[in-house]
Amino acid sequence: MNRCTERIFNGLVKENPTFVLMLGMCPTLAVTTSAINGIGMGLSTTAVLVMSNMLISMLRKIIPDSVRMPAFIVVVASFVTIVDFLLEGFVPSLYSSLGLYIPLIVVNCIILGRAESYASKNPVLPSIFDGIGMGLGFTVGLTSIGIVRELIGAGQIFGIQIMPDSYVPFTIFILAPGAFFVLACLVALQNKVKNNLAKKGKEVPAQAGCGAGCASCASKGICGGHLAGPETISKTENNNGQEGA
């Protein structure tokens, strides 16, 4: 089970899709006007991600390499349709506030990215846990953005009034620009914490960006498809330093 817990930790912290990989920005910015929307979107994506990772991992030896993208899309789209109908049937208010972004889970880059980079190469059980980890990481990201935006923009969290009545809400935070402000501040905060950890000499999670799937990586020719560890990163940085000097 060690590998499975590692996958969950990886999704939640090390390669958090929202704050580290910066994947799925479209729903992240668009639906996080309130905490409940963030959780709803995150959990819907998690459900689709777990199911699609499982099925793609099962079918990974059957799907021919040349048509893998259409095959992945068919699998993902089927699950999205199921989730879409379930939400419409059981939580219509959430369904109407998420609106178009539920069908758009089909093209969410986290789901296709995990299918491509993990589920299509690994056994079923780790793939499921990878989906859970990534999905929860996405949920945590969306919910924390939603909480901050709702608190500043409406004085509430999960619809419960937090701020005193005299508080004047900063309406801009529940409008589109607020999403960018909050996301940027949270990412900056997260980088600050990581830098502080690095200064104290603790083990730092590997560099963002890599590990998201070498297929989509611009520098796969350089690293040769190996996952970049801390040593590789420091080497690259040294090289850059020399070039600069």
Binding site: V168, F170, T171, I172, L175, P177, F181
Partner: protein, 310 residues
């Protein structure tokens, strides 16, 4: 003097004028409008908002630079200009803490996060005004004059009602603190033109293109009264003379300046005549600020010897 024998690459001609001198001149140029605004809105205690907003801008610049271990640049007066311009763009009844929020946003988010003076991609004061306008729409569009609440003359004009152009010229009208008096603004602007701080091309092309737009699409033809009301109402004078001409966010090339002014004139006319609200100067200027890199790209002069048109 050693300065006469400075060995370096070009430019070789140096002047004693510095950012701080220019900024100080701009502050002096803004004084007539500021003083008139404070007097005009004396019943609303506008002076508190002006002082608090300006102080908050300077203080947030100082605190941010101290925290980030950067050289402190409050002596160059640019934060004073930003804070003062922001205050002049706020309605006099705005709670003082909203002015502080706007000043912090202008200095920290728009100016310092992008690298400080010279690096901001749009006018910090106007960006903060738009931020506040979206945040606190009710308070930002609440206008009082002499204890009477009502619409600004520009809104009346848009609604097709008659306005008193003479009052609008002098400034005894509702509006933001610094925008009401065209006379006071023009005194400051004349001073800046005489000192060589602002270039006539930007405000000139802005105002001319705006008038042309109003004449063509305003539905009144060449009606001097209507055009004067549009020019004296709202923030176009303050915007054209003091905010569009900001060195950092306006083009360097001469042709670029004219193009930039035309952009602002057309956008202002578009927003005022066809937009949802009566005023659109601040949005027009910040959108044109964003176009400046493109304008500079297409108006870049050819160096001598590089050949002409082929």
């Amino acid at each position: 003097m050693n300065e006469n024998y400075n060995v370096s690459s070009s430019p070789h001609i140096r002047d004693r004028i510095k950012s701080s001198n220019i900024m100080l001149l701009v502050v002096i140029g803004l004084l007539p409008a500021t003083l008139f605004g404070i007097w005009n809105f004396r019943h609303e205690n506008a002076w508190i908002l002006v002082v608090v907003t300006t102080a908050a801008a300077v203080l947030s610049e100082y605190i941010y630079e101290k925290l980030m271990h950067k050289p402190v640049t409050i002596n160059d007066f640019s934060a004073v200009v930003t804070g003062l311009l922001l205050a002049l763009n706020l309605p006099p009844t705005l709670p003082w803490w909203m002015g502080v929020v706007g000043a912090v946003f202008a200095i920290v988010v728009v100016k310092q996060l992008f690298g400080g003076l010279g690096q901001n991609f749009m006018n910090p004061a106007l960006a903060a005004r738009c931020f506040l306008l979206i945040c606190f729409t009710g308070q930002m569009t609440y206008f009082v004059y002499d204890g009477v609440t009502g619409a600004t003359p520009l809104a009346d004009l848009k609604a097709g009602e008659a306005v008193n152009t003479m009052d609008m010229l002098i400034g005894n009208i509702r509006g933001t603190i610094g925008e009401t008096s065209v006379v006071a603004i023009m005194i400051g602007a004349m001073f800046l033109i005489l000192m060589g701080v602002i270039d006539l091309r930007i405000p000139g092309s802005y105002i001319v293109s705006f008038v042309v737009f109003i004449v063509i699409f305003g539905g009144h033809g060449f009606d001097a009264q209507y055009i004067t009301a549009h020019l004296c109402g709202g923030g176009i004078m303050l915007g054209a003379w003091f905010m569009a001409t900001d060195y950092v966010t306006s083009p360097i090339t001469s042709r670029g300046k004219i193009l930039y002014g035309v952009c602002m004139g057309l956008l202002t006319g578009l927003f005022r005549l066809f937009g949802g609200s009566a005023e659109g100067v601040s949005y027009a200027i910040i959108i044109s600020n964003l176009l400046v890199p493109l304008i500079e790209k297409i108006t870049l002069p050819k160096p001598f010897g590089k050949g002409g048109e082929k």
